[in-house]
Amino acid sequence: MIEVIDLCKVFEDYKRGPIHAVRDVSLECRPGEIFGLLGPNGAGKTTTLRILSTVLSPSSGTARIAGFDVRRHPQKVREKIGFMSNATAIYDRLTAWETVQFFGQINGLDKATLKTRMNDIFEWLQMNDFRDMLGAKLSTGMKQKVSIARTIVHDPQVLIFDEPTSGLDVLVARVLLQKILELKNQGKTIILSTHSMHEVNRLCQRVSIIHRGQQQAQGTIAELLEEHGQPDLEDLFFHLVDRADAAAAMERTAS
């Protein structure tokens, strides 16, 4: 269960002054649901998700994961989540098996549980062919599988995927999305950021479209299409982005 309330993140930049990477973002994501964060590059998706994973702290507003506040109980939060993004690579000098095992250990799993859990995961993701290969030697698809295995090894309730399919070929991406859907069906709470409408259509029950750090619209896809009178998600997306850009331009000329 993820609750985000009026989340803001301001970065200090010596040249440009304060930069509002995320402004007043609120959302809620329930078990058995995939929530989509849709937005162009630089919209603030990664910053939002990094705040949820506690590696960044919010400038204002709060976020709670499984009831724990990201600011006050960051460690508890990290115990409850599995986080995967482009910036979370795997170790080059560890084998696939060692990498997953290591993350199991620091998540506090005991030896026996870890072993059965890892056997299940390696089976489920079909990773046994390359379990003793070093990270550096793995293909992108294999690395992505190791990353998923690492993300779910401690069986977290909440999963956060930051643009999980970017840079993957269609075959690997398809397998990955399939696995995410399976995780949802296991009752996990999943939040996923992407700039692909196709993925949102395929996976997400509800979606939030963000641009320029601000939430432009939120709801189920059907609700949003109806509310804004747009024929499909793509049109809706461009409509909202254009509207936000126009508003920003207005603001600039006004000031």
């Binding site: 590696v55 460690q75 690579a89 795997i90 000098r93 560890l94 620091i106 998540n107 690492r150």
Partner: protein, 728 residues
């Protein structure tokens, strides 16, 4: 900070990091292969050099050799070498080749001779004067000119040999003369010196090792820490695995500790491998040289000194190395976290080495021994301790083991804390590789003033004070006193420009509320001001006792005493009071209980703030006057810090500081003017030291005053928790 960490998690991360290090070819190379190859290579080069060095003979030109007497001979019958019997070891005669030159040859021309010596056509030229044989026979004296080039090593060496030979030859000439005059042969040497060296072979070995080993060990443990640190922090950032680790439930301190232990291991292994390889190589080398020196020219070989110290000593040395390796590892770790990429990390190596070199270099300087002051300096203390131990002077080393190890461990702890702070800062972990622009950074700092200074800014203030002391201090002395004698005015100006200026400027520039940051508000309760008055009076007998103990342990040089005496006696009483009591009372308080105190309190608990600020206060006294002042300045600093913390104000400290320093001035004046009446209070007027009942009274009074301090209403900031920089 390290209280609630889970050993299991630390162990898991440590295992992984070690695996990572051991699977990295570069670090394994630096740790193990490099030292294993380096010393044998150096050994081969040295032994080759020695062999070729031994074979090459030096050339000596003798001008006008025909004039040399036939008996005693200076040259051999063939006139191409010096006479064998003149050499202490006749085998060495082959090392000097003699070339004869005619009086009209270029060698007798002064300018040509110089050129030819510089060109290396000869190493030494000996000019035999005309009619030498005759003069010797007639019992007269003559000059024998020896010309060489002292800027050339070979020339110097050859000259020393030739000069020895000539003096031995002169002795023989003298003996002949005495014989012909029927005098005993030792007539001209009524006293002969007989020199004996008590140093055993082991001790001479130890001497060489004690200079070299600390240097090698410390630098190698630095190298051994540096590369893995860069790889485990900046490298992980670069490879994208840092964030993977950060989103795991491991605590930041657990991650830092595990990485720290890994780096420490690597550092110690590197130092150890260097030691082992160096030991094996040197044994090998001694074997080789030993064989040669048996067959070759006699005399002890200089390399026989390379026999290793005993394994027990080396083990002790290695144990002493652990804290300093920990310190270096923690420093490298903090720097490595700061670096955005391995490339940036590599750039930090040079400044670290530049800082480490002069500190370790002290062991190579002859005559530098451990002192309490050196024991406080990171690296230097350990190096000198290692030097003393390896030199086999255990009785001198043992008293310094704790004085060296405790500060080193404290430095290591502080460096580790710094690393943890770095690790907890998201701006450090997620720094983007943006171009740094000094102008916009300064403007940003000025635009975004904070309510409170940070601990970094407190440190900045201290560094600025040191820099100001270095540059402005001598300027003040040269302007105020032309004869270089310190007067009250120099002290006052130094206080204002060196001590007070940095904190005041920083407060005006960087803080939104300079008054609050310098703690200029009135104290919470007026009674704190009375405490400020009472504390120094109560503490004075105790401080003088402390000072007496310090003076006994680390006596101050007479020159130092003169300077301090001069300060109080030369000026009028009013000027002395102004210079020694009022100016420091205000200026030093502005710095140490003002800006630095506020800065340290941000993010620190109350007691560490007091302790760190008073140690800085003590260190400042070391740098401004003498290290003997460190102890009582630090003790006073603790009380001043306590008053500042509880009252929330600078003023009680100012009162206490002025009264404390003022008492020293007034007592010195009193003792000078009326020793009789001063004797009622003091048992020893030179210290001065109080009669013991006053000391006992002082102890009781101090205890009472401390109790009072804790009973008065306290400033909200004195509640013991770190103060966040968002609160004012």
């Amino acid at each position: 900070m390290f209280g609630s960490n889970r050993p299991r998690v630390i162990a898991a991360i440590f295992r992984r990091e070690m695996l990572d290090v051991l699977r990295d070819r570069r670090t394994v190379f630096m740790m193990i292969i490099f030292p294993m190859m380096l010393y044998p290579l150096i050994g081969v080069v040295i032994s080759q050099l020695l062999i070729s060095y031994q074979e090459s003979a030096r050339r000596v030109v003798i001008v006008n050799a025909i004039e040399l007497p036939a008996d005693p001979p200076l040259l051999n019958p063939e006139k191409n070498r010096f006479a064998r019997e003149l050499f202490a070891n006749p085998e060495e005669s082959s090392k000097l080749e003699v070339i004869q030159a005619e009086p009209g040859s270029p060698w007798s021309d002064e300018s040509r001779r110089g050129e030819m010596l510089r060109d290396g056509q000869a190493d030494v030229v000996v000019l035999v004067p005309p009619g030498l044989t005759e003069r010797i026979k007639e019992g007269k004296a003559a000059d024998l000119d020896i010309v060489y080039n002292s800027s050339d090593d070979r020339g110097q060496l050859a000259f020393r040999r030739v000069s020895d030979l000539v003096s031995r030859w002169t002795e023989r000439v003298l003996v002949r003369r005495l014989e012909s005059d029927n005098k005993p042969t030792d007539y001209a040497t009524p006293v002969k010196e007989r020199v004996r060296d008590v140093a055993t072979a082991t001790e001479s070995n130890a001497q060489i090792w004690s200079r070299m080993l600390p240097f090698i060990l410390v630098l190698m443990s630095l190298t051994g820490a540096f590369y893995p640190a860069i790889d485990l922090c900046a490298g992980e950032k670069e490879r994208g695995t840092m964030e993977t680790l950060l989103i795991s439930p491991a605590k930041r301190t657990e991650i830092v500790l595990a990485k720290f232990l890994t780096i420490l291991c690597s550092s110690l292994v590197t130092a150890g491998m260097n030691l082992v390889s160096l030991g094996i190589t040197s044994q090998q080398l001694i074997g080789q040289i030993g064989d040669q020196s048996k067959s070759g020219p006699g005399g002890p070989s200089p390399l026989q000194g390379l026999a290793l110290p005993s394994s027990g000593t080396i083990l002790m040395a290695f144990l002493i190395l652990i804290p300093i390796a920990a310190f270096l590892s923690a420093v490298c770790l903090a720097l490595a976290v700061m670096a955005r990429s391995t490339k940036e990390g590599q750039y930090y190596l040079t400044p670290v080495l530049m800082a480490a070199f002069p500190l370790t270099y002290m062991t190579l300087v002859p005559g530098v021994e451990l002192t309490p002051f050196y024991s406080l300096i990171p690296l230097t203390g350990t190096c000198l301790l290692l030097k003393t131990m390896l030199a086999g002077r255990m009785d001198q080393a043992l008293p310094f083991v704790l004085p060296v190890l405790i500060p080193t461990i404290a430095y290591a702890w502080m460096a580790l804390r710094w690393a943890v702070n770095q690790f907890e800062s998201e701006t450090v972990l997620f720094r983007e590789a943006e171009r740094f622009d000094l102008k916009s950074w300064v403007l940003w700092q000025l635009r975004n003033k904070k309510d409170r200074p940070t601990a970094d800014q407190a440190a900045l203030c201290f560094v600025l004070m040191l820099v100001a002391g270095w540059f402005i201090g001598p300027m003040i002395v040269s302007v105020v006193s032309s004869d270089g004698i310190l007067t009250g005015w120099t002290t006052i100006l130094t206080q204002i420009f060196v001590i007070a200026m940095p904190p005041v400027l920083l407060a005006l520039l960087l803080s939104r509320n300079p008054r609050a940051v310098l703690r200029l508000k009135p104290p919470l309760d007026r009674r704190y001001l009375w405490l400020g008055l009472a504390f120094p009076i109560a503490l004075n007998p105790l401080i003088t006792e402390l000072f007496a103990v310090v003076d006994q342990l680390f006596p101050m040089s007479d020159a130092m005493k003169k300077i301090f005496g001069g300060l109080t006696s030369q000026d009028s009483l009013a000027l002395s009071l102004l210079a020694i009591a009022v100016a420091p009372g205000i200026c030093e308080e502005l710095a140490f209980r003002g800006w630095i105190f506020s800065g340290l309190r941000t993010g620190n608990r109350a007691w560490p703030t007091i302790l760190i600020s008073s140690v800085l206060f003590g260190v400042m006294h070391v740098l401004l006057s003498a290290y003997q002042q460190f102890f009582h300045a630090t003790v006073l600093g603790v009380v001043l810090g306590l008053l500042a913390l509880r009252s929330g104000s600078l003023w009680p400290g100012v009162v206490m500081h002025i009264v404390n320093n003022g008492m020293a001035v007034i007592f010195a004046w009193w003792i000078r003017v009326s020793p009789g009446s001063a004797g009622l209070l003091f048992s020893d007027l030179n210290g001065p030291r109080y009669h013991w009942p006053f000391v006992a009274l002082a102890l009781a009074a101090t205890a009472y005053l401390i109790r009072m301090t804790f009973r008065l209403p306290a400033d909200p900031e004195s509640i013991d928790s770190p103060v966040s920089d968002e609160l004012s």
